[in-house]
């Protein structure tokens, strides 16, 4: 019920200004977007609690992953500390380009994307995690409707078609099937895991799922910026566009007038950085140990003062 607790607390309430600092900027609440997944909740709450320490008023507002960009552009939301550029459509790059929303640097998370499989698949296909397994064990990963090709679940169609392109360009014996939505992809993995069935899926980390299910990554050829023009990179030295996936970027995003209204807060957000370990540890506490999100974040903030003290100081 921790999520419930969270929405309750944040729905409309504005946190009281209890800090010893005087805020460098307007006393209007900074509205922080809350998306639908735990990792983002943690980043948002760390940002929120630190902003409060620096004397700002904040408010958490629930927002869908796509509509939030319209909201930030219009100034109805002001801060979204964790934006993944891989699983939103063109709406995000378009809004950044037009200057309606501003990216103030990377959050610090090191994301990974690629094709992953449940670790028990290693028994059925010993050449895993090497990419050669994709050819050798295609039939191990096959379902009746894709046989003799392996069944590869890709990102939903509205997140782009990178996996499908790679399969086609490299000529792999896989049949890409669009995942439909994040929920459907996770449901499929949970069910496959329960029945110890084969599964091969385009996915990403950090994600709470890795704390629950033991997944390994296929070692795809390294990404290369000129992969589309120079055939020597990737699977086949004779083909272009057959490299692994470049690293996604996770940015901190603010409203375009954020800096002029809350100059101190902008400094704090610019300085703030969260690494994979932090988010994974907190996510595990919330999702697996069913603890209250606010409590977990408060605990982390209390025991890591040396880390964030400079960020809050930057706000003054």
């Amino acid at each position: 019920m921790k999520f419930k607790h969270l929405v309750l607390g944040l729905a409309v309430s504005t946190m009281a200004n209890s800090s010893v600092f005087a805020a460098n900027g307007s006393s209007d609440p900074i509205k922080i977007a809350i998306n639908e997944w735990t990792g983002q909740h943690i980043s948002a709450h760390i940002a929120g609690q630190l902003l409060q320490k620096a004397g700002f008023n904040i408010e958490y507002v629930t927002a869908g992953a796509v509509p939030q960009f319209a909201a930030i552009a219009q100034g109805n939301l002001h801060l979204q500390p964790e934006v993944w550029d891989n699983n939103v459509g063109d709406i995000y790059p378009k809004a950044v380009e037009s200057g309606e929303i501003v990216k103030v640097g990377e959050l610090g998370l090191q994301p990974k994307e690629g094709w992953m499989y449940p670790s028990y698949m290693k028994e059925k296909c010993p050449s895993l995690p090497d990419a050669s397994a994709l050819v050798e064990c295609a039939q191990v990963f096959a379902a009746p409707e894709t046989f003799p090709k392996g069944r590869l679940i890709t990102y939903p169609a509205d997140w782009g078609t990178r996996s499908k392109d790679l399969v086609e360009n490299a000529g792999l014996p896989l049949q890409p099937i669009a995942g439909g939505s994040e929920g459907a992809m996770i449901a499929e993995l949970k069910a496959a895991y329960a029945a110890k069935e084969p599964a091969l899926m385009m996915f990403w980390a950090p994600h709470w799922l890795h704390a629950e299910l033991d997944m390994d990554w296929i070692e795809l050829p390294a990404a290369h910026p000129n992969c589309d023009s120079e055939p020597e990179h990737g699977f086949d030295p004779g083909k272009t566009g057959d490299c692994g996936f470049p690293q996604a970027s996770i940015g901190k995003v603010v409203w375009k007038d954020f800096g002029s209204k809350w100059p101190g807060a902008l400094k704090l957000i610019e300085a703030m950085s969260i690494d994979n370990d932090t988010q994974n540890t907190l996510m595990l506490e919330v999702d697996n140990n069913k603890r209250d999100l606010d409590e977990v974040v408060t605990e982390w903030v209390n025991s890591n003062e040396s880390l964030w003290q400079p960020w809050v100081a930057a706000a003054q």
């Binding site: 019920m1 999520f3 419930k4 607790h5 929405v7 309750l8 944040l10 729905a11 409309v12 809350i34 639908e36 997944w37 507002v61 629930t62 927002a63 869908g64 796509v66 509509p67 939030q68 960009f69 319209a70 909201a71 219009q74 109805n76 939301l77 939103v88 459509g89 063109d90 709406i91 378009k94 809004a95 379902a143 009746p144 409707e145 046989f147 003799p148 679940i153 939903p156 169609a157 509205d158 997140w159 099937i177 669009a178 995942g179 439909g180 939505s181 994040e182 929920g183 459907a184 992809m185 996770i186 449901a187 499929e188 949970k190 069910a191 329960a194 029945a195 069935e197 709470w208």
Partner: protein, 689 residues
């Protein structure tokens, strides 16, 4: 179409042309696949128009948005401030007044469920959105309804617009609303308003029109002014129909709660459902989804109850204490509970420790089910996939292979297939079942080549000719233009994928649903079991059923198909049962006294008599199936539903709205076809008498 020999030959020629086009198509591909160079870039034009609209009139919409946000937040805060026992009691008393103690018990238990499971605050946030959008929708709908009643020209504009509003999936117009009105709960409010007001318009026009001329005359004779005639004669006489409109509008508004949550900004129960689904938490999402279903059922029963009792209310001549007894009970108990709640904290906020949340058990149950049944399920799925879905989609030509059917589709086999089809069709023709032979020929070609690979040119020609036969020139032109829209905007391939999925789903839903409906009409126990299941399937947010379907049947079109069936089967069951149960008693008695067996009575008397209503059920089944397409896209399909998400994800208004209109077009063409067919069947049936 069999009655006229000329039509038979035209159809035979059309089918012959289709077959030859398919073969010529390998040399001239444009005959089969519409070339992408011929597509009109409508999406770009639409986007430019939208940008212009936002730039020039954005301030107006934003202002409206700010004004509307005030009542939303006021109602929200009031509902959060009032202690839960007060609202539970008020709901119970309202139900009692509307229909009696049974409903009062149901409503009270339903509201208590929201408390015990710990979703009370979220439920109240959703309720506040409904409480604002319903009156707005009723006033808007009533206004348009009166206008449509007064002016024939207005009605001619309003009716097709209503069709569009109710068939374009709400997802397709979320983005334009977001662009115009800005982010926040108001977006959900507007979306819900757009979807909820059409039933009110329809019922207003219908109600006002059906006021009998004698009543109007007597009103005129007693010297009523036009204003009096309208407010004191027409409106009270049409009250029942108007209240039915209120009921349907309310239900539509509740069903939009979940869609509105996709935008966010409300922390309501819809958001809770979406978050759970995103994490694929089966038990949790069901528990939250049930809240919406219960909310819808309670509101439906209460408004429906008030709509039904309107007439008898006025006749009761009793004392003021008795007449206002419900109000008195409501006031007294609310005040008491208010006072009590200030002493007992559990009455203000349900303690978290007391929450009953059986999600883990439900999840374990599903996991066990999958473990035990995965093999059997896999077999069913493979059979359905190889022998039904793939042939319809890509044709036997591409389906049959050693991997799927266990053998190669050799030229000899193809020849045998062709001969077998000709023999069967010839037999039907020989037995004077000419239209049957045509149907066999057409579907044989369809199964051979696959729906997605049939020539657009011939499909459009055949559909338009069919429309001409069913509804005359107007329908033919309408159909032609509609299908040309799909073609010219470049969404024909996706549209065919949607038609394929919906088509199979409708056939399954109608056959299985019709069978269940017949059973339910004959056996009381079946009826009693099936009714609450139908209620739940209709009111539960459709997203919720996706998770268990994916866990059992995996990502892909099969899960999507089942999800569509689960929703579209409801009208097939309902209308069949309703049609069979409400037949004139004297006809049935006469048949029984003539010595009909129960089987004869059913097949030769009841089913033919109930046909018009069963056909209405088919019509609704098609509408439901198309409405489910967008949601089914969440488990991985490639049709128009997916296009809507691509539009949403790219912030591309044009793509989304074109796909949405495409779906509306398919729905409307299917609607007119079934109506036309039903009408012609009825004519044939009464002509035989």
């Amino acid at each position: 179409m069999s009655s006229n020999p000329g039509k038979f030959w035209i159809w035979l020629i059309l089918i012959g042309l289709l077959l030859s086009t398919q073969f010529i198509g390998s040399y001239t591909p444009w005959l089969v696949n519409y070339p992408t160079e011929w597509v009109i870039p409508l999406t770009g034009i639409l986007n430019a128009m939208m940008n212009w609209l936002v730039e020039t009139t954005g301030w107006l919409f934003r202002g409206l948005s700010d004004i509307l946000a005030i009542p939303v937040s006021v109602v929200q805060q009031v509902l959060q401030w009032v202690p839960w026992p007060v609202i539970v009691v008020l709901g119970g008393v309202a139900s009692w007044a509307a229909s009696g103690w049974k409903l009062a018990l149901f409503s009270t238990l339903a509201l208590l469920y929201m408390v015990f499971v710990g979703y009370w605050p979220e439920s109240m946030n959703s309720l506040s959105l409904v409480l604002i959008s319903v009156p707005l929708a009723i006033v808007t709908g009533f206004g348009f309804g009166v206008w449509g009643f007064r002016s024939k020209r207005a009605e001619n504009i309003i009716m097709p617009a209503l069709d569009m509003l109710q068939t374009i999936p709400a997802f397709a117009y979320l983005l334009p609303i977001l662009l115009l009105f800005g982010f926040g709960p108001v977006v959900g409010l507007i979306a819900s308003l757009l979807f909820a007001f059409p039933p009110m318009v329809r019922n207003t026009i219908l109600g006002l029109k059906s006021v009998q001329a004698e009543i109007i005359e007597s009103g005129l004779m007693s010297g009523a002014t036009p204003r009096q005639l309208f407010w004191q004669v027409r409106i009270p006489t049409a009250a029942r129909q108007l209240l039915l409109g209120v009921n349907q509008t309310t239900m539509a508004a509740v069903s939009m709660v979940i869609i509105a949550s996709i935008i966010g900004g409300t922390a309501d129960i819809g958001w809770e459902v979406l978050s759970r689904i995103r994490k694929a938490q089966f038990g949790e999402s069901i528990l939250a989804g049930v809240v919406i279903a219960l909310l819808a059922m309670v509101i439906d029963r209460i408004t429906y109850g008030f709509a039904g009792q309107e007439s008898k209310e006025q006749s009761s001549e009793t004392g003021p204490l008795h007449r206002h007894r419900y109000l008195l009970i409501a006031i007294v108990s609310s005040v008491t509970l208010f006072i009590l709640s200030s002493f007992i904290p559990a009455l203000r906020e349900w303690p978290e420790a007391w929450v009953v949340y059986p999600a883990d058990g439900m999840n374990r149950w599903l996991e066990n089910f999958i473990l035990n049944w995965s093999e059997a399920i896999g077999t069913i799925k493979t059979i359905a996939f190889f022998y039904i879905m793939l042939p319809v989609k890509v044709g036997l030509v591409d389906t049959i292979s050693p991997y799927s059917w266990g053998f190669e589709f050799t030229p000899a086999l193809k020849l045998m297939y062709g001969l077998a089809v000709l023999v069967v069709a010839g037999l039907a023709w020989f037995r004077q079942r000419k239209s049957l032979s045509l149907v066999i020929l057409f579907f044989a070609i369809l199964f051979y080549f696959g729906l997605t690979k049939l020539s657009w040119l011939m499909l459009i020609t055949m559909a338009s000719y069919m429309a001409f036969q069913l509804g005359g020139r107007t329908l033919a032109i309408g159909t032609l233009l509609s299908l040309l829209f799909l073609l010219l905007t470049g969404i024909w391939p996706q549209a065919m994928l949607s038609v394929y999925l919906c088509g199979i789903a409708v056939v399954i839903s109608f056959l299985v649903g019709g069978f269940i409906g017949v059973l339910a009409s004959e056996i009381e126990a079946v009826s009693r079991i099936i009714r609450p299941i139908n209620d739940t399937l209709q009111t539960m947010p459709l997203f919720v059923i996706l998770i268990p379907f994916v866990m059992i049947f995996k990502i892909g079109e099969f899960s999507a198909l089942l999800a569509i069936v689960a929703y579209a089967i409801v009208p097939a069951i309902r209308y069949t049962e309703h049609g069979l149960r409400n037949l004139p008693a004297d006809v049935l008695e006469a048949s029984t006294s003539m010595g009909c067996t129960r089987w004869q009575l059913l097949t030769q008397v009841k089913l033919p008599l109930a046909l018009p209503i069963i056909m209405l059920g088919l019509n609704q089944t098609i509408m439901y199936a198309i409405a489910m397409l967008v949601i089914a896209a969440l488990v991985g399909t490639n049709g128009l539903g997916q296009q809507v998400y691509i539009g949403l994800g790219d912030g591309d208004f044009g793509i989304g709205i074109v796909a949405g209109i495409g779906m509306a077009i398919i729905a409307m063409v299917a609607d007119r076809f079934t109506q036309g067919w039903s009408a012609s069947r009825q004519k044939a049936f009464s002509g035989n008498d």
